[in-house]
């Protein structure tokens, strides 16, 4: 038994958890910002796919990972801006425009990919982002290879957790943002531009979601496939609820999800447990629903989530 456990939970396993959690962290934090300001962005699944596609394509043609990252960030920001135009400026239904954004951006990503690359037998690939071991820290036994021998994007994603928490809870901007999400009329009366804050976070969130997608195609894998995101956006929506709109708890949820996925991959590879791998993929979704049912009575969803703000109307 101990043998099985030690082959399952080696350094590689924990390093895999850190890798797998990277896109989830980026996307979940992006969505967390959006929802804290009162906008649910269901476009997340499509925006991740678009970022995955544009980030990959830009890297493929420029040969530079930096260009790939920048292009993904800007396409995500543009997608966020379109979402802002619809849900903030026009104030239309956030559910429907989110689903519309996902349909539009994923269709657009597939369209452009097919147009640029055709239908090659072997998908074109790029040299994936290499890990950058941090001097000294990467030498620590166990912790080093797990946390400090990763790509820059992983460091950025993990660094984004405390930064997001600090921004949200310790800065005037974060206070404005949370007020806008809880009581936009009070924020407005206090001289905060509700539309301005919401547009800012949608652009920021969109960029983070697209970066999460790009991580998949230029760091975790090295090619774009149509199923590359496969529901990770929906997972992030769930993780925000699971994490009760708190960056730290969202990160914990992302790690839990990554643990289950890594376990699933490991069990499949070592053929130790004869359970269909889909059960493991399903588990986080089931857990999220159960968690939502348990905490719903004292759930702390931003009070103005889903409600558009029009100055004249109360």
């Amino acid at each position: 038994m101990l043998d099985v456990l030690s082959t399952l939970f080696d350094v590689g396993f924990f390093a895999a958890i850190v890798r797998i959690s990277t896109p989830l962290l980026l996307a979940t934090l992006g969505e967390c910002f959006n929802e804290r300001a009162g906008v649910l962005n269901l476009g997340i699944e499509g925006i991740m796919l678009l970022g995955a596609m544009t980030g990959f394509t830009a890297t493929y043609f420029s040969g530079s990972l930096l260009v790939g990252v920048l292009v993904a960030l800007s396409t995500g920001a543009i997608a966020g801006l379109i979402m802002a135009l619809l849900t903030v400026v026009l104030g239309v239904s956030q559910h429907v425009s989110g689903i519309g954004m996902t349909l539009l951006t994923s269709g657009f990503a597939f369209y452009l990919y097919r147009l640029i690359f055709g239908q090659p037998a072997v998908p074109p690939n790029v040299t994936a982002m290499a890990p950058v071991p941090i001097p000294l820290l990467s030498g620590i036994p166990f912790i080093g290879p797990v946390f400090f021998d990763q790509t820059i994007l992983t460091y950025a994603a993990f660094g984004a957790v405390p930064v997001s928490a600090y921004l949200l809870f310790r800065t005037p901007w974060g206070l404005d943002l949370r007020t806008v999400g809880e009581n936009p009329h009070a924020a407005d009366a206090a001289g905060v531009s509700v539309w301005g804050v919401r547009c800012q976070v949608l652009v920021l969130g969109g960029a983070m979601m697209a970066l999460a997608g790009a991580y998949l195609t230029i760091a975790q894998f090295n090619a774009f496939t149509f199923g590359v995101v496969s529901g990770r956006g929906w997972v992030s929506i769930a993780l925000v609820v699971f994490g009760q709109w708190n960056p730290w708890r969202c990160a914990a949820g992302a790690l839990l999800f990554a643990f289950l996925e890594a376990l699933q991959l490991r069990l499949q590879a070592t053929n130790t447990l004869h359970l269909p791998y889909e059960v493991f993929l399903m588990l986080p979704f089931v857990l999220t629903i159960i968690a939502m049912a348990l905490v719903s009575r004292n759930a702390c969803a931003p009070a103005s989530l889903l409600i558009p703000f029009r100055k004249e109307e109360r």
């Binding site: 499509g46 994923s106 269709g107 929506i237 889909e278 629903i289 049912a293």
Partner: protein
Amino acid sequence: MTRFRLERRERTPVLVQLLVPVAAVAVALVLCSGLVRLAGTGILHAYGLLFLSTFQTAYDIEDTLIKAAPLLLTGLAVAVAFRARFWNIGAEGQLMAGAVVAGFVGERSWLPAFSLVPLMILGAAAAGALWALLPALLKLRLKVDDVVTTLLLNSIMLYGVMALLEGPWKDPRGGYPNSPSIRPAAEFPILAGTELHLGILVALLATILVWWAMARTTLGFAIRAVGHNPLASAYAGIPVGRIVLLAAIMSGALAGLAGAGEVGGVRYQVTSDLSSGYGYAGIVIATLAELNPLAVVPAALFFAVIFNGAGSMARSTGVPVYLADVIQGVALLSMVAGRLFMVYRLRVAHHA
């Protein structure tokens, strides 16, 4: 100084109601023509193929109607749910639930042959309804957000079906993760001389039934009232919770029927790619139809045309088939934006 401001309309003129969806689709086509140009194909040539290739032969038209049946049902499913403010994003999963039950019933050897088709249809509707009832109960009893649960239940259903199809329910005679074929007696009857199967008739009957229920019955009135103003409805003595549950059951059953049609009339087995986004397309269709059951028919037909037409367009030009998906997305977004003009009117205010 001239300022524009939005002013709430007392009521929406019929002309505006008709014009906005048409304009939304037109905007989508105009915007997407840029993508067609990008592919180096003439816009008229590509759009000609997109729309007209589905009307070339009787077979093409039948194919469009077959494609329209599940879209009609998921469109109705979303329309009913959204009317009651039950945000059912889960038609995709409810369709799969229906498909699984239809496939399972259709495969049973001990059931009398004549009972197969009716049992498949009823079972699929029940399965879809149950899969929609769960998030509705969670919403009503525990105040769990229905958007997130219905979305998650789609993934849960999909992984569940995949696990079944790769494990205990895998067709032993095939290499692919599909369920065994249903019995020949379980295949939906077709209209003599055509490919049109019973599922299309079911979809049309469901449309009429839903329209009648929504427009002419107390239940329909209650659903619309609850969707319009739940507080006022409760005050007027309408059992809001029960009405939302009934709307969810209707919605899920409709989506489940779409699954039965796909298994009984098209695939004759269950596959994990059975629903190629019909559930999400249902949201687009219901929104374009302004949640009106009768208007769902032209909207579903329109998308059936472009989904099928995109295939032939892609084969004879260099325009990727995904143009249809982009059109779908842009049409939905322009429709939600355009709806603003139904509720509000643009006023030019002059100030001295």
